[in-house]
Every structure is written in structure tokens, then in C-alpha cells.
Symmetry: C2
Subunit: 397 residues, 2 copies
């Protein structure tokens, strides 16, 4: 039976680890507002709206503040000792007044509180007071860097979920490649591939399977508009074009498993590549191989990007450079640290990165593979596992 | 030919309207960081990441600051006079230093600047200085309320896009209802319906059609886990359950058209409803009808929710109440103002709301229709147009 969730023990361990990290800062409680941080410590996945939600965790207890409409959902799924509710936002009494009640009830009126933000973000029209206005005697300590650091280091359980994600992203991408055909629209190919992969995934994993994130697809593969000349735009947006002979395609595939994801991207060519397409493809492949071989625990992240940028310079293709080599990848779409010349944080065992240097020639084509890999003592371990070579990426037409 | 985008003239009008609103505050330039605000004034839809993007608009010129990877994308699609780029985030020089260069170059060093935020949000690991640290002599004015107010009042062009969204959400929901069958999983039904509706949509609208938003589906219909007993959780999450006889289903459908959306939700029943299901369904329907009939320009939003809450009280079903009556709906998932007892803002012609009072009985079922409607002088106009009655919502098994 595949592992499909983070164990309760691990959620508890995360809280202990966080308090241990904060032991030199005299923090008596933690308040988290950002949805993925709440999920990270409570196992509760939810849809963020104008209604604030937050978790309060002390060494002895844990609580979740949610709007009334989330009561039963939180009581069933959240790993907390108590669920406090407020009626609604804005309603007649502001939700943050209920947050104050909760903090006061927990004896935190003049405590030192670690927070990821001073209040709920201004999203979907939300407005509201921040903790310093509610509890003027409390001292706030920003612990966003601490929780973010913990999230960078993936445990064995987290790696298992990312691997599970890679498996289904791989299947979705396999269907995507099979369905590529001249004259068919990107949207049709993408939706068919995502549908088939998801059908296989939910039948294999059964009803225990939960994506747990809102807006992230079950299994997915697509192009996001990077087709033909538009492949030269690294972040093009879906525009419903039809594939044509000679098109360069840049793809993307993933799957959501208990809130974790992965990133698999490939450059494919509709028909036999031209000499120029092959030249640029091979530069991209060389740069990716170089980047992969620079990964290693104990080296700074910047080393990887420096190696790639040096390659672009040495090969005289600097004008095709558009972005850094990669980013951490676990619960979010992009995460810190970055494989970027400006990020000198050290690579550590358990960090997961995308490795995706790209080569772009405006009005011609773009070339990018992205693989998701884990940093090890000696180098790296593949998590995605799709063919990378030009022959495998050539689609017969 | 259906209207599939906002005209350039309207984007220009929006800027003029905003400066007119701000004329009493001596604002010389506007800086917007929030992605949907940037799109609202520049027509540029993009994928937000760790790399900040922002627009700077003065009465005479407009600029966009983007990372290098968005250069060609922005140059092709953004309605601005200049596109400034920075290499990457974090890179060796922080992107906000380039923002400072741009502001200085526009002569705004000691200007009064209207902003939607003082800097880019802490998303995806981004960290960075805020405008006051970069330009200590500038005066900042928070104009988030102003731009949000403008976004509340939909123009004819915006209403046309929302209507187009409703059309395809309706088709997706029609397929969804057709495909509901005992023993089939929600994920399969949802993906099939979304696929079929999107195929029809892209063929009808052609290659001019652009969803323009990242992560919002082309055409979509689904359940998000609100099936059987879980329908009693208003914001349940997809859990891959199979439909069974007697299940109450709560659905949702939409489609993205040039960044605009709509919301259609229905309560459906697998097989002949029980007396208790029918009773609760009819309470929900009555409450929605009541809410709709309370809509009218010049009345406070709170009136609508007060009428609904009074209905719950009068009927003795207060314990089934979980959330306010609705929210504005245009470019985002939820928007202000809210049909909520705590929101006394006035309804105005051009405002678009979801109307969706819900009735929830834990461990039994939930009942909610949501329709998207426009406020008029005399009342409201339906934008969604799907059957609402119990007979139409009963699925033969």
C-alpha cells in the first residue's frame, strides 16, 4: 500500500522541532496565518477565502480558529486539541476579536508569540486588525524563516509523497506525449492526458488518496501555451493553439498527493528537429546535466547557477539566458532556496530542487527540461524519471 | 463574434478613472504589486512566482517591471509604454533596486505615490525591501480601497465576459448532471464534464479565446468533495468518493474568460429525495429566492443577509446556518463587498454577486445553490441560468 499521507507522529515532531529551534528566543506560542503553514503543522487542508483561519500552537496544546462553515471539516481532519469558531467575516464582530479571545484564553496576553505574519493577508477583500493591535502587551517574533527552513528539509515521509507525485506526473506526461498530434489543440491534448492519468491514479490509490490542496490538479500534464514560437516565452499562458509540424513544445506535468507536488517538464519537437533546434536542445541538455552534477550537500545553491551561467558564457549563448537554474519544490509551486547566483544558502540532504536551465530564442523557440531531484551527501537522486534525450523527445508526425 | 477581451480603450479609461478618484490626494503615480491589480490596468496576465512584478502608472506614462523571463511575454501582451526588466530573483542585485531605478527615472523620488501594498508579498520564499526603504523621500498613499471599489463596478465589457463565463459554466454543469451515476467517482465525472465543455468552448470561441488567469480552469464543473454526508461541509475538499443512491451532491461550475469568472452551484439528489431532503432543499430554495428579491441598487449589502438570517430564525432552522449569503464575483474567486450582516456598503448598478445561502445538517447533508447575478436599478439580473427546482435537480437512478 503506497504511503498517501503524513503521519500524525510527524506533525507532532514538526511542532517539537519548531519549538526546539525557537528555544533561544523564549517563544511561548506560535501563531500561523499562511494556509500552507497551517497545513504543515495541523494536517488541515482548506480553501483560503476572505475568512481568516489560523493555528495557535503552544508546547502543551494546539488550536485552530476557523469560520463556522469550516467547523465540522476542521473537527474531522485537523490534528488539533481544540477548534474555535467565529460566525463569519465580516459579520458584526470581527474574526480577529475571536482570535484575541483564543489567545487570552490560552494565557498569552503578554506572551512572546512567534508568527509567520502579524495578521491575515489582504486577500479577497479581507481587512482586519493585526495581533499587535489586539494584544498590545504581547511581543511578536517573526518565525517565517524558521518554518520555511524546516519546510526545505524533506523527511522520508515527505520524499515518499513527492515520489508518489512524480509517478503520476510521469504517467500524465506519457499520455501527453502520446496524444501530441498535428492539428490538435493544446487544451484538448492536455485535458485528455490529465484525465487518463488521473483515472489510473485514483483507481490505483483508492479512496484514501487526497490531493489536499485547493486548485492543484490530481494528475496533470500540459503546455501552458509554450508551443511553436511561444515556447520562447518561459511563462507563456494557455492560448489554445493547435500543434503544427516543426513546433517546439515545452511541457509541464505534476500530481498533488497530500499537498505535495513535483515538477516534470520536457522539450519535445513535432517531427525531425532542424539542425538549429538540435543545437539549442543539446545546449539545454548539457546545461541541465552540468547543473545536476553540481548538486551536493554542503555546497552553496549559488554554485549550481554559477556553473550554468558559466556554460552559457563559454558557449557564447548568453543572449538565450532567461532565468535561474531552479527552485526548491515540495508543498508549493516554487519555494526557497533558489538555484540562483544570489542564493548562498547551503544545500542539505533532504532538500528537493527543480533543475531547469532554459535556452530561449525569441520568435523561434524555447528549450527547457525540468526534473525534480533530492540532494544527497554525494550528489543527487532523481525523483522524476522521464527520458531526456532528443531522440526520445522527437514526436513522429 | 463574442466579445472575448477587455478593449484597450477600457484599460485606458480605468487609469483615468483611478486618477480622477485620487485627485484630492495629490497622487502623482500609482504602483501596483498585486497580480490581479496589475492585470486590471495593463491587460497583462501572468504567473506570479518568487519574482516580483509591478506596474507604475502616471497620468502620462505606464511601465511594467518584470523579470527577464517575462520580457517578450510582457512586450507582446501588456498595454504599457515601457517594459523594464531585471535579471532574476534573488540574483546579485535585488529586483526592488530596479524598481527604485524605474521610479527615479520617472522623476518620482519625492513624489506622492498611490500603492496597493508597500512591496511585493512574501510568497514562494520572496523577501525584499519595501518602497519606503528605497525611496525615503516619497510619500505613500494606500489606494487598495479605491482600486477595489472600481473593480466592484463592472462595465458592460466586463459583464459580457462574465456572461460568456456563465454560458460555458452552464454547459459544464449540464454535462456534470448528465454524467452523475451511482458507482462512478466524483473525479471522473468532474473531469469528463470539464473536458467536454472545454472542447465545445474552445471550438466555439476559436484561438482568440484566452482564459488569461493561471490556475483557473477553462470550463469546469465538479463537486469538491461535497457528496453524501460530506455535502454538509460547505468547503469540503475533493476526496475521490463514488456516488451512491440517496446522496445529496453540491456542485460548482465556472469558466475563465480573459480573467473573468462566474459561479454556478447546485444541490442535486441521487434518486427520489426523502421527505427530509426535500424539506431542507426547499428551505434553501426559499432563502435564495428571498435573497435575490432583496437585491437592489441603493440598499446596503447587509439587508440581503439580514433577510436570510431572519428567514432561518423564523423557520426555526438557525442551527443549519453556516455562512453569509454571498460575495462579489468578477476577477477573483471571492471579492468584496459581501452579502453579510456586517457589510453596510451600498449595492450599486454593475455590482455582480453570488447569491448562495446554504442549509447544512452535519452527518446528514448540505444544500446550497449559488447563482451569479448583476445588481440593477430595480433589482437584479440573472447571469447564471440553470434550473433551480427540486424536480430538475433530481437525478434518476
Amino acid at each position: 500500500m503506497p504511503q498517501l499521507r503524513i503521519s500524525n507522529e510527524e506533525y507532532i515532531r514538526r511542532r517539537e522541532t519548531l519549538f526546539t529551534r525557537l528555544s533561544d528566543r523564549n517563544v511561548q506560542a506560535i501563531v500561523l496565518f499562511q494556509p500552507h503553514n497551517v497545513s504543515y503543522l495541523t494536517a488541515f487542508g482548506f480553501i483560503p477565502t476572505e475568512r481568516p483561519m489560523a493555528t495557535v500552537i503552544t508546547p502543551n496544546t494546539s488550536a485552530l480558529l476557523v469560520p463556522h462553515l469550516e467547523r465540522e471539516h476542521a473537527e474531522e481532519f485537523a490534528l488539533v486539541d481544540r477548534v474555535d469558531i467565529y460566525p463569519e467575516y465580516p459579520d458584526l464582530r470581527h474574526p480577529m476579536e475571536f482570535m484575541k479571545d483564543l489567545l487570552v484564553d490560552l494565557g498569552l496576553t503578554s506572551a512572546t508569540i512567534g508568527v509567520d505574519a502579524e495578521g491575515y493577508g489582504q486577500i479577497y477583500g479581507y481587512r482586519g486588525p493585526r495581533i499587535p493591535e489586539l494584544l498590545p502587551d504581547a511581543s511578536l517574533v517573526n518565525i517565517l524563516d524558521d518554518i520555511e527552513y524546516m519546510q526545505m528539509i524533506n523527511s522520508q515521509e515527505e520524499l515518499a509523497l513527492i515520489r508518489e507525485s512524480c509517478r503520476w506526473g510521469n504517467l500524465a506526461h506519457t499520455y501527453l506525449q502520446e496524444y501530441c498530434e498535428v492539428g490538435v489543440s493544446e487544451t484538448e491534448i492536455s485535458m485528455r492526458a490529465s484525465f487518463e492519468a488521473t483515472q489510473a491514479m485514483i483507481r490505483t490509490l483508492g479512496t484514501e488518496y487526497r490531493p489536499l490542496t485547493f486548485g492543484m490538479a490530481t494528475a496533470f500534464a500540459g503546455f501552458r501555451g509554450q508551443i511553436g514560437k511561444a515556447s520562447a516565452m518561459p511563462h507563456s499562458m494557455t492560448s489554445n493553439v493547435k500543434l503544427q509540424a516543426g513546433d517546439v513544445l515545452v511541457t509541464g506535468a505534476s500530481a498533488a498527493v497530500w499537498g505535495y507536488g513535483s515538477e516534470l517538464e520536457r522539450t519535445m519537437i513535432m517531427g525531425e528537429p532542424t539542425a538549429e533546434q538540435a543545437r539549442l536542445f543539446n545546449h539545454m541538455l548539457e546545461a541541465q546535466t552540468l547543473a545536476l552534477n553540481t548538486l551536493k550537500a554542503g555546497r552553496p545553491c549559488s554554485d549550481v547557477d554559477k556553473a550554468v551561467r558559466r556554460y552559457f558564457k563559454d558557449e557564447g549563448i548568453e543572449e538565450t539566458w532567461r532565468h535561474h537554474t531552479g527552485h526548491a519544490k515540495s508543498m508549493l509551486i516554487h519555494e526557497a532556496p533558489f538555484l540562483d547566483v544570489g542564493d548562498d544558502r547551503m544545500m542539505e540532504v533532504g532538500m528537493v530542487f527543480t533543475v531547469e536551465p532554459g535556452v530561449y530564442v525569441p520568435d523561434f523557440a524555447g528549450f527547457r527540461h525540468s526534473d525534480t531531484v533530492a540532494v544527497t551527501e554525494d550528489g543527487f537522486e532523481w525523483l522524476t524519471y522521464y527520458p531526456r534525450d532528443l531522440e526520445s523527445m522527437t514526436i513522429p508526425i
